[in-house]
């Protein structure tokens, strides 16, 4: 989300889910929306149904293609080139919104200069797309009365994810598609409360509402409110934490509700790091693969057993309500943490009810300033909602960008870290499927979902399958520089030649043994969508 | 072979609208019926869901969802044929080949079906064998027209 923050000053979805249905054009890139965000996909399909133009950019054939006006099958990892090419067409053909650029943005000249490197010949070479298609897509996007960009992990989980996001943001600004209905740049978040956990300051460098821990003024406010003096030094990111655990500089981890042994790239490294800790406490609703490594496991209550709020991908804070008592002796996460804090002698942790916690959040966080449980009863509120009477904000950057002027970032195309070669000739892409979620800690415990899909499949294009002598259902071994897994093959027309696709849902097949730990230098997001592998039938 | 012809055909119609009936007719010409694979392929080519294609397909009596029989016997169900003795001809056909109206023999060799009135009422009652018309049919000539060989 760092990319958007640089350009706009805020990294969240600029518009709203319902708003997408109103767009005249949508560019859906790096998102298999019907599988990963099925209900948001309804808006995309509605838009197409009403005659809107849906441009799907995805190396894989996805269900959304059925509804698309255009399907751009760019080569994996070539998104910046594609977007750069589209921008080049828009600038060359005079389709840019010069008023918007002049009044609302800065640094346009730098962008324009950078586009010199994006001749359609070169873009076509990199992306594998015909020039005409790129031109048509650019025109479709630029000439629509409103055009929205929707993206997900296909854009961000890349060693140049920040470049991708910034290029998309540039494209939106270039055409004035920011701050109005049916437009914007809209990242779709993977988890129910990713947005909320970021908003809440579960990040090493910021407090709630993205207030920097390094900023003295801000820190003073928090020190005053919390009654302690605070560490001014930004902490370690997730990957760095595991590295530090590996090195022994981090010695104790309190891990809540995650299963990095399965979900993180280079899973073997993580497992080793956790094993080296002096103390690991895991708090979860199931004994996950990670929890099995812990010294103490604390049983948490599930979402249905507690009160609280989630913040969704469109910045909407909504009420989570208790339906049943906590199962067994489990307890809500907040309650457990509060107990620990009190046992460690802390002040300011006496809460009777989560509503009081929300009140404290509101006091300390401008964008949540007007949130309170009684206001969230019917449909919740979208931040920024700074005051008790504020109706919330469905579209960001209407008058001005959060940071003032929209900042064009010059684009530069960089290849993925690990290119296929003779030894590892194929590209492995990873993603999600409709019927499972993340490490499937939850979904594989649902009988019906397990019945539908209980094992990993590696998808392979029929052409590659034929040349490698692989038939549908064959057991194959997928090998990367980091590891190997054995899995059944699924011959799939939708997978582009030269590529494989796997999910990371099934603990029996740890796909992340293959993926590579290289990360985006700014966002620190690992490049899960691209690594070089080879595949062979298991005799 | 059939697959290639189908692919070529669908390329011609990709993304077009107002062509589904024509596509059905042409696929049926190639395959003799419209197979599940063809329904999938048509749906993808024309940007529809397979169920939409199938719903339309089954709406029309002349489109087949199963392979055609070797021999198709049709008897006109129109009023002139009815008035001129089609009912007795039906009984004669059923009796002769042992297949009931609206059915095919278990080995899919022969089917017997009603056909819609094509307005050639001067030859009523008439039957068709693989499209060839036999007019002014009486129960007595049915064995002659259909030849030997009771379908079991």
């Amino acid at each position: 989300m760092a990319g958007l923050a640089t350009t706009f000053g805020s990294g969240a979805m600029t518009n709203s889910i319902a708003d997408l249905g109103q767009a005249a054009c949508i560019l859906a890139i790096g998102t298999n929306t019907t599988e990963a965000h099925p209900v948001i996909a309804l808006q995309l399909k509605q838009m197409a149904r009403r005659g809107g133009k849906l441009i799907v950019a995805n190396p894989h054939w996805i269900e959304l293609c059925r509804h698309a006006t255009m399907w751009l099958r760019q080569r994996p990892g070539s998104d910046v080139a594609l977007i750069g090419g589209m921008m080049r067409v828009i600038v060359d053909e005079g389709l840019a919104d010069s008023n918007f650029i002049q009044e609302r943005c800065e640094n346009f000249d730098a962008l324009r200069e950078s586009l010199a490197a994006f001749s359609l010949e070169r873009v076509s070479q990199i992306t594998g797309l015909p020039q005409e298609q790129i031109r048509e897509a650019a025109r479709l996007y630029a000439t629509s009365s409103s055009a929205a960009i929707v993206y997900a992990m296909g854009i961000t989980q890349s060693s140049h994810g920040t470049d991708n996001v910034q290029a998309l943001a540039d494209l939106a600004m270039l055409t004035g598609n920011i701050g109005k209905p049916g437009s914007g740049v809209n990242p779709l978040r993977g988890h129910n409360n990713v947005q909320g956990s970021c908003d809440m300051g579960c990040l090493p460098n910021v407090f709630t509402g993205y207030q920097s821990v390094a900023d003295g003024g801000i820190r003073e406010r928090f020190e005053a409110a919390w009654g302690v003096s605070l560490n001014p030094k930004p902490g370690l990111t997730l990957g760095e934490i595991f590295d530090a655990a590996h090195d022994g500089t981090v010695k104790a981890i309190y891990l809540v509700g995650e299963n990095p042994v399965i979900t993180d790239p280079n899973a073997a490294h993580i497992e080793e790091a956790l094993k080296r800790l002096e103390f690991l406490v895991v708090q979860d609703i199931f004994l996950s693969e990670t929890a099995r490594l812990a010294h103490v496991v604390l049983p948490a209550a599930s979402f249905a057993e507690k009160e609280g709020t989630f913040t969704n991908t469109e910045r909407r804070v909504q009420r989570v309500r208790q339906a049943i008592s906590p199962v067994g002796n489990s307890r809500p996460d907040w309650w457990i943490t509060v107990q620990l804090a009190m046992r460690l002698g802390a002040q300011g942790f006496s809460y009777e009810h989560p509503a009081e916690i929300m009140d404290e959040i509101a006091r300390l966080t401008a964008s949540y300033g007007g949130m309170a449980y009684h206001r969230l009863e019917n449909g919740g509120l979208q931040w920024p909602c700074p005051s008790p009477n504020h109706p919330g904000t469905s579209i960001l950057h209407r008058e001005a960008f959060t940071r003032g002027k929209g900042h064009f970032v010059p684009v530069e195309y960089r290849g993925s870290l690990e290119q296929p070669d003779e030894e590892y000739p194929l590209i492995l892409n990873t993603g999600r499927m409709l019927y499972h979620f993340h490490s499937s800690t939850l979904t594989r415990r649902v009988k019906g979902l397990r019945e539908l899909h209980s094992e990993e499949r590696v998808e392979i294009n029929p052409q590659d399958a034929v040349s490698l002598g692989i038939a549908d259902g064959d057991l194959v071994k997928v090998t990367s520089r980091r590891g190997a897994v054995t899995v059944r093959a699924k011959v799939a027309e939708g997978t582009p030649p030269g590529s494989l696709f796997m999910t990371f849902h099934f603990p029996d097949t740890v796909t992340n043994l293959l993926t590579q730990p290289g990360r985006d230098p700014v966002s620190k997001i690992p490049e899960l969508k691209f690594c070089a592998v080879r595949v062979a039938k298991v005799a | 072979m059939v697959q290639e012809k189908l692919d070529d055909l669908l390329k011609e119609y990709r993304g077009k609208r107002g062509v589904l009936l024509e596509v059905f007719h042409r696929v049926q010409e190639i395959q003799g019926y419209i197979s599940p694979q063809a329904v999938e392929a048509i749906a993808t080519a024309l940007g529809m869901s397979p169920a939409h294609v199938y719903g339309a397909l089954t709406f029309y009596s002349e489109l087949r969802t199963t392979p055609p029989p070797e021999r198709s016997i049709g008897l006109c169900g129109g009023p002139a044929c009815y008035l001129r003795g089609a009912e007795k001809v039906r009984q004669a056909i059923e009796g002769h080949i042992g297949v009931a109206m609206g059915q095919a023999s278990p080995d899919n060799k022969t089917e017997v079906k009603w056909v819609q009135c094509p307005g050639i009422c001067h030859v009523a009652p008439f039957l068709t064998v693989d499209g060839k018309i036999h007019g002014k049919v009486t129960p007595e000539v049915v064995p002659q027209i259909l030849g030997e060989g009771k379908e079991r």
């Binding site: 409360n193 997730l238 199931f286 948490a300 409709l434 019927y435 649902v446 | -």
Partner: protein, 379 residues
């Protein structure tokens, strides 16, 4: 556009011009029986039940296909209207079991009671999982239907020699029983027009017409996403949640947010005692407006999974043993006390609530003095 004013059963009602009369009446609190209309979707005009009288209009037009105009005077409760509606209902019921209407005991029975009546076993009301929450039954009762009426035992009607259609229950979540289907096509339309999936269609025509998948293949082998939207809109027991159809009516409904992806769908948890017996999508959901996906709708059974952690565990000699909260919390607190500062890291979860997350980062920063707090937002 300016609003129009019309009269429905002597009530003066304001509405947008062109709105369907059925919806306008519903908002005004006037119930017009219907079985195929769905809010916010184009009228289908299939069930033919929602006939009304409109001054100056010939015959008994349908409320779902009539667009309101200024000065319209509508009557919904006249004798000709009710007679026609009962006629249509009688026609529909001739293809549907009606024991739930005809049983002399029904007034005494509560849902899921065991039937003591000596009757044909297969069509007693208790063999219908939708008994008492069936829209067809409600409309029948509203119109005072006392059963199939004059078609009882007619040719191929339900009680005649009708061929039974086999149930489709191969997929894990949705059970399809087209013997009870009235072909209102709500499922087809919601799947196509709302979900953009189109896994099913009305197939064939005449008496062979049936809702079906292409070539009758099981749902999960089609492009069906098993979202259950069809089950929600089915007015009969044709489409049911396979695993929870017999759960009966819940004690309470709790509205909450789906714990899976970042969309934030509002779900209704149907709760009986301490169990979630069924989940449906909340029509009031700000984002999802009555829709959900397979995970939200059918994927919450993990809550009651036997492997749930129900007590703290402490590792002792390599193996876990159960412990009390006090013991576990004391142990953790005492151990963590040794690592204050940057030797400590907290890893939060993007599955937890805002409040959980806030408390965790506050704990790391305030109690442990460390900014080493992160979560898996990047994955």
């Amino acid at each position: 556009m300016a609003k129009v004013t019309l009269t429905i059963d002597q009530k003066t009602v304001e509405a947008e011009p062109g709105d369907p009369l059925l919806e306008v009446a519903k908002k005004a609190g006037v119930y017009i029986p219907h079985l195929c209309y769905m809010d916010d979707l184009p009228s289908y005009g299939g069930c033919r039940l929602c006939a009304v009288e409109i001054e100056g209009v010939r015959g008994l037009p349908l409320a779902c296909t009539t667009q309101v105009t200024d000065g319209m005077v509508v009557r919904t409760d006249t004798a000709p209207v009710r007679e026609l509606q009962r006629g249509v209902m009688e026609t529909i019921l001739s293809e549907h079991p009606d024991r739930c209407l005809t049983c002399h005991r029904k007034i005494h029975c509560l849902p899921n009671w065991i039937c003591l009546r000596d009757d044909v076993v297969t069509d007693r009301c208790v063999t219908c999982a939708k008994n008492q929450w069936c829209e067809l039954q409600q409309v029948s009762e509203f119109l005072g239907m006392e059963g199939t009426g004059r078609f009882y035992e007619e040719g191929r009607s339900w009680y005649g020699a009708r061929e039974e259609i086999p149930l489709e229950r191969e997929n894990p979540f949705i059970e399809r029983d087209y013997n009870k289907c009235i072909l209102c096509a709500r499922c087809v339309r919601v799947c196509d027009e709302v979900r953009g999936v189109g896994a099913i269609s009305v197939t064939y025509k005449g008496d062979k017409a049936r809702i079906d998948t292409p070539f009758g293949i099981p749902l999960h082998e089609t492009n069906c996403e098993l979202c259950g939207a069809c089950v929600d809109v089915c007015p009969t027991a044709s489409l049911m949640d396979k695993t929870t159809k017999w759960a009966g009516l819940p004690d309470k409904l709790v509205s909450t947010i789906c714990p899976y992806c970042g969309t934030g769908c509002q779900l209704l948890l149907h709760v009986k005692g301490e169990r979630i017996v069924r989940v449906s999508a909340d029509a009031e959901g700000a984002v999802n407006k009555g829709q959900a996906c397979v995970k939200g709708r059918y994927g919450l059974d993990f809550v009651h999974h036997p492997e749930r952690l129900t007590t703290p565990l402490i590792r002792d000699n390599g193996a876990f043993r159960e412990a009390s909260w006090d013991e576990a919390l004391d142990l953790v607190a005492s151990r963590l006390g040794d690592y204050r500062g940057e030797e400590f890291a907290a890893i939060a979860s993007s599955k937890c609530t805002n409040e959980d997350c806030y408390i965790l980062q506050k704990f790391a920063r305030v109690v442990m003095g460390s900014n080493n707090v992160d979560h898996c937002a990047r994955l």
